[in-house]
């Protein structure tokens, strides 16, 4: 095994400030029953951000094709449901766009059914919809998907439990440290107030997961538009500053 004793080129890479309390859901959120046996119970150990944490994969080549951003294509007829455009920007916490970065989405069909072996809800599969999309952000960090509005669906978490309509988003940002998976919800959905996965997020942060309807981006005689920006952690003031001093 060879080693690298020379100072790494990346020694001046920016590190990333931690999100303040009140940003992310508590891992153990017992109202979401699946967390009870899966959430780690010990306090996480501080990991100073070094090279492995400050770098990350460049993804896209061979993984993303132009049609992948249009979930309504690829079939002889389009999927059932309300056609929508979902667009926004991938930004860091300082408002910098994150260009050429992979965005992956997946979702249920208009009836609230996923194309998945373990989804046994008695709603129809749509032969014209598989519910998976991918794209790369452009030079300004923008993305846009064409899809259909997913349906709500029941789940077994508690009596009369229904998930609000949502689209899963997976993003990478510029470093291992910025990796994020979230869900995008729709405005004015009455189910949002009753969903333990949404409610696991501190109240003040929940709105950041809800898209905005955009009449401006809505295309006449074609599709309603929703806007959803995704914000990843911003840079710490100085590379290697505070995190290295953590105990």
């Amino acid at each position: 095994m060879s080693t690298s004793a020379a100072p790494p080129a990346g020694a001046a890479l920016p590190s990333f400030r931690r999100d303040p309390d009140g940003t992310h859901p508590r891992l153990l959120s017992p109202d979401y029953v699946s967390t009870r046996l899966r959430a780690p119970l010990r306090a996480p150990i501080d990991l100073p951000q070094r090279l492995t944490e400050l770098t990350g994969p460049v993804l896209g080549e061979g993984l993303v094709y132009e049609d992948d951003a249009d979930l309504t294509r690829g079939y002889s007829q389009g999927p059932a449901g309300q056609r929508i455009l979902v667009s926004g920007r991938l930004l860091d916490g300082d408002g910098r766009p994150i260009p050429r970065s992979l965005v992956e989405i997946w979702q249920a069909n208009a009836a609230g059914r996923y194309r998945h072996d373990r989804d046994t809800w008695q709603a129809p599969l749509d032969p014209n919809f598989d519910g998976m999309g991918r794209t790369l952000t452009d030079d300004e960090g923008r993305y846009i998907f064409t899809t259909i509005k997913p349906g709500a669906y029941p789940w077994r978490n508690h009596h009369n439990a229904w998930r609000p309509a949502h689209i899963h988003f997976s993003v990478f940002g510029r470093s291992f440290t910025q990796r994020l998976v979230t869900q995008m919800y729709f405005p004015d959905d009455p189910l949002l107030a009753h969903d333990p996965i949404v409610s696991a997020v501190p109240a003040a942060a929940r709105d950041r997961m809800i898209a905005a309807f955009s009449l401006e981006d809505t295309q006449p005689d074609w599709a309603l538009a929703f806007s959803f920006d995704i914000v990843l952690r911003g840079r710490a003031a100085t590379p290697f500053e505070t995190e290295e001093a953590a105990p």
């Binding site: 944490e53 408002g95 470093s175 990843l232």
Partner: protein
């Protein structure tokens, strides 16, 4: 915080149907089959009852064999032909994952020393409201593991042992990840 600072988007679980969106052909291959020095790291993702987690995802990120990320661009993984640096493996019905990779070289610790060979790992699953972060080290690197600053900062040997993959006798390694319980894997706040 600056005047232009924005509040981060909260994390949410990948849910049970993650395979629809997160499956890649050859996702498990950090390097292709047949590459000299390549091996499998295999293990299981287990919950607090010791049961397998069949709807999880293990993602890995690492340096190349020279301990390099090879870049001016911080996102670059171009070091070494055919080396992606990144792997992802959905867990199977038995909670099993597998990553086909090379042992990374030692990476600078930023303070004039070297870290032991390691992979950074993100774990996602139904029931995990945010990814959890851990590392994988190698049992046959004990000389490097000893002074590694991350391992050295852990409270005891039992904690360190949850991060160390063991040789499987067939040229690869075995490494289980336990989300909860007496042998809960060490997870990190980054």
């Amino acid at each position: 915080m600056t005047a232009s600072s924005l509040l981060s988007t909260p994390a949410q679980t990948v849910g049970p149907y993650l395979s629809i969106g997160l499956t890649w052909e050859y996702g498990e291959y950090v390097v292709s089959e047949g590459r000299a020095g390549a091996f499998w790291i295999r293990g299981r993702l287990l919950d607090g009852a010791g049961d397998p987690v069949p709807d999880g995802l293990v993602e890995t990120w690492q340096a190349d064999q020279d301990g390099e990320f090879g870049h001016a661009d911080p996102r670059s993984a171009s070091a070494g032909e055919g080396f992606r640096g990144f792997g992802r493996s959905l867990t199977g019905p038995d909670g099993a994952y597998g990553i086909h990779t090379l042992k990374p070289g030692r990476v600078s610790d930023g303070e004039g020393g070297l870290q032991a060979p390691h992979l950074d790992v993100s774990v996602f699953a139904r029931g995990l409201l945010h990814r959890v972060v851990t590392r994988i080290y190698f049992a046959d690197e004990s000389a490097a593991n000893g002074p590694d600053p991350v391992l050295a900062a852990l409270p005891d040997e039992a904690a360190r042992s949850t991060l160390i993959a063991q040789p499987d006798g067939a040229g690869g390694y075995t490494h289980d990840i336990r989300l909860q319980g007496d042998h809960e894997t060490v997870f990190f706040a980054v």
